[in-house]
């Protein structure tokens, strides 16, 4: 692990989306560990086992914030977290995938807690992208 920051796990039905998003975020904040999981057998979908491996690859005692694209990804992600084992600092952010991840990585880069990182991601919902 790179440091003491909160890690981020990005899940999408399409691998390209999260792999591109990770590139975007790495530029903003190279010091935050980001894991990705997307697609299943090279098709659109998600895979609980793959999500579990991704989670394992970035989990530290600082915690992990998980963002996902669509509801069915959440179903598999919760399954993955259960398989990974209980009582861990893992928070699902009810946040838009791209915008939430951006806010989360900035927040994590500042060294904040897993709750603060999740809150930052969720605040991205309120973000006004087009000002008047």
């Amino acid at each position: 692990m790179k440091n003491n920051n909160v890690s981020i796990l990005l899940i999408s039905h399409c691998y390209e989306i999260v792999s591109g998003l990770k590139n975007l975020l790495n530029q903003v904040q190279p010091d935050v560990n980001i894991a990705i999981s997307g697609g299943i057998h090279d098709e659109i979908g998600t895979n609980a086992f793959d999500i579990k491996n991704a989670l394992e690859s970035v989990y530290t005692s600082n915690g992990v914030v998980i963002l996902f694209d669509l509801g069915s990804a959440l179903i598999n992600a919760e399954l993955a977290v259960e398989m990974f084992g209980g009582n861990k600092k893992i928070i699902f952010a009810d946040a838009p995938l791209v915008e939430g991840a951006y806010a989360a990585v900035v927040e994590s880069g500042l060294g904040n807690t897993v709750e603060e990182v999740a809150n930052a991601a969720e605040s991205a919902k309120q973000l006004q992208k087009i000002s008047d």
């Binding site: 039905h13 979908g45 509801g71 179903i75 399954l79």
Partner: protein, 210 residues
């Protein structure tokens, strides 16, 4: 009524036959209110399940259904994968080391499976999902126990599937359509109907052609 590993295999193989036959139909249902892959998901998932169980000797129902659930989770990338997968895993946990069960135990194990679907997907009755078939069917099995009439089970599963037509989707991709999901039968409710239809046919003792 007794249900054992041979009956279980019979059930899954029969369900797979239905899903292969109805693959295009399920897909068309999902095209209307989802992403058009439910037929593919179910047909592929259960084909893999059948491949997996074909060459294995299972000494009890628990290990058999664990393989069914795991394979679905591993192979199906849509909501149906982890939902049916979880259902079969919870089912298997109720049937640990059981070689055969009666109708009451079957109902209880299916009730645990339904609980798994509910907690995994957080859908409630009326949300236009597989729960809308599972819940009433499992209720019937629990209340009838050993006296269950398989034809009544088939009738109820079909009726409840039909009832999803008038519902507004609250869960899954169809929820994006809001009220515009009304007027379409839910694909998952339909595959669940096949699941219970296949089970009822096995309970009736219909012959097992692989």
């Amino acid at each position: 009524m007794l249900f054992d590993v041979s009956g279980a295999k019979h059930w899954i193989v029969r369900l797979n036959q239905k899903l292969q036959e109805q693959k295009k139909y399920l897909t068309s249902l999902d095209q209307a209110i989802g992403d058009g892959d439910h037929g593919l998901n179910m047909a592929r998932g259960f084909q893999e399940v059948v491949l997996k169980i074909h060459d294995t000797e299972y000494k009890d129902l628990g290990t058999f259904f664990k393989d069914v659930g795991m394979t679905l989770i591993l192979k199906v990338g849509g909501a149906s994968g982890p939902l049916y997968g979880t259902a079969f895993l919870k089912f298997s946990m109720e049937l640990k080391e059981k070689k055969e069960i009666n109708g009451i135990e079957l109902g209880e194990a299916l009730s645990a499976a339904l609980e798994g679907i509910r907690s995994r997907g957080r859908a409630q009755l009326g949300d236009k999902t597989i729960v809308d078939v599972w819940e009433p069917v499992v209720d019937l099995m629990m209340s009838e126990g050993e006296n269950l009439n398989p034809d009544e089970l088939i009738r109820l599963a079909n009726e409840k599937m039909e009832d999803t037509k008038d519902m507004e989707a609250k869960k899954g991709r169809a929820a994006y359509l809001g009220k515009r999901s009304i007027g379409h039968i839910d694909p998952g409710a339909t595959s669940s109907m096949y699941l219970f239809e296949a089970l009822a046919e096995v309970l009736k003792g219909e012959s097992y052609e692989e």
